[in-house]
Symmetry: C2
Subunit: 220 residues, 2 copies
DNA sequence: AAGTCAACAAATATCGATTTTTTTTGGAGG
DNA sequence: CCTCCAAAAAAAATCGATATTTGTTGACTT
């Protein structure tokens, strides 16, 4: 499903392939939140062995997408309104921190990286790749903070948030146009090295869609 | 090596036992930072199978104590001065956030929990259990934030920090008395529900030992 | 002397089968 | 009708062996 899977290209391990597949299934809701994840069932579904499945699930634990209970297996991380709001709040706090650090250490190289990521996001047409490009842009904003752990946390929270977008069943295509102006604002302020303006734009960007999702999550 | 391993007590899975053992070895430096972790070697060392070792290592990835490189195994997470300082900064930021939330929602129940944790920490004599009690106290301070993810991050960062304490080879016994007054200050301010004072005391608590460790980490 | 490449060695990753543990089921007794 | 318990079924955990991949060594070419 991804790039680099032609016959000549280097093979990926079964574990990694399984990891990516399961991750995608959990993010998109193909494996619903809270569901028991039985090894045998997944093994058949993905046509692989039990070991790769087990190891992939263990790795997904890092992303907080899977919970492991000793001696009684794995389950997809549960979802709730409270969980969503916690994620939203933490994202705002951590990304604000990371963005400000990024801007305070701004370099020409970083700015060019940023402009590029933005350009790529704009030019994408299909929903599938837009998700990736969108994340790339947002992570690019934080990539100059020189704080790998903070970036890791932000990336995790980003993914956890995606999950709720799918849960709310909002098709991203309509949002794409709606929010492009917001992206411009964030980018411009960052390039001006105006941390306050950039952060304000970023947080309102999150809180807007956050509020929208909150209203659509009564079913939890 | 732990409690509850008598014949009648409930058994823990080999994976969990291995996880705990490896975790301890990495935290204390028995497995040095950056070192290659060979399955076979660990399997023999812990007298268990390859599967539990492999799974334990995968789980340790969540804690950022082990790195996994596809198709070429695991290694203990590397350590560096930059890494230490990032951890220190993040801890200060995140624990400040969590502590303020805890205090803002203070309840009698939480206060009692806090007092108890503090008491238990004070009464402990041996270094071994002091580490646990010390962490319990610090986590208790944050436990009322009602933010499981934030707590998880703080717990992770706490452990990563422990690692550097061992690296700096400072014996904790001498610190114990040195810092007990600081603990009192944090506790008192929290019980007074004075967020600013409590946070200030907490952060200076961290920054003091942080600065001490920084000077002792020239060897990185 | 540096670079290439085959053969070997070592380590990782994976499979298939077995052992434990948990969960379910179907009474027997209260 | 509910509770408790044992047997059966299901699932997880683990083992031992095998297959793949990576890393290394040293002869051979240029």
């Amino acid at each position: 499903m991804n790039s680099a899977d032609d016959t000549t290209g280097r093979e990926v391990s079964a574990t990694r392939a399984t990891y990516l597949a399961l991750r995608q299934m959990i993010l998109t809701g193909a494996l619903p939140a809270g569901q028991k994840l039985k090894i045998e069932q997944l093994r058949k579904m993905l046509d692989t062995g039990a070991s790769p499945v087990r190891e992939a699930l263990s790795l997904l634990t890092s992303d907080m997408l899977v919970e492991r209970i000793d001696q009684r297996g794995f389950r997809a991380a549960p979802a709730s309104l409270a969980n969503f709001q916690e994620i939203l709040n933490l994202r705002c706090a951590l990304e604000d921190m990371a963005l400000r650090q990024s801007i305070s250490q701004a370099t020409q190289e970083w700015e060019e990286h940023l402009v590029l990521a933005h350009h790529r996001m704009k030019r994408v047409t299909d929903t599938e790749t837009f998700e990736d490009a969108h994340k790339d842009f947002h992570m690019a904003l934080l990539s100059n903070a020189a704080s790998p752990i903070l970036e890791r946390y932000c990336s995790q929270l980003y993914d956890l948030n995606i999950r709720y977008r799918y849960l709310a069943a909002s098709d991203a295509s309509y949002q794409k146009r709606d929010i492009s102006a917001e992206h411009e604002d964030i980018l411009e302020a960052a390039l001006q090295r105006d941390a306050d303006a950039s952060s304000t734009a970023l947080l309102s960007h999150y809180r807007l869609t956050g509020g929208y999702l909150t209203t659509r999550l009564g079913s939890l």
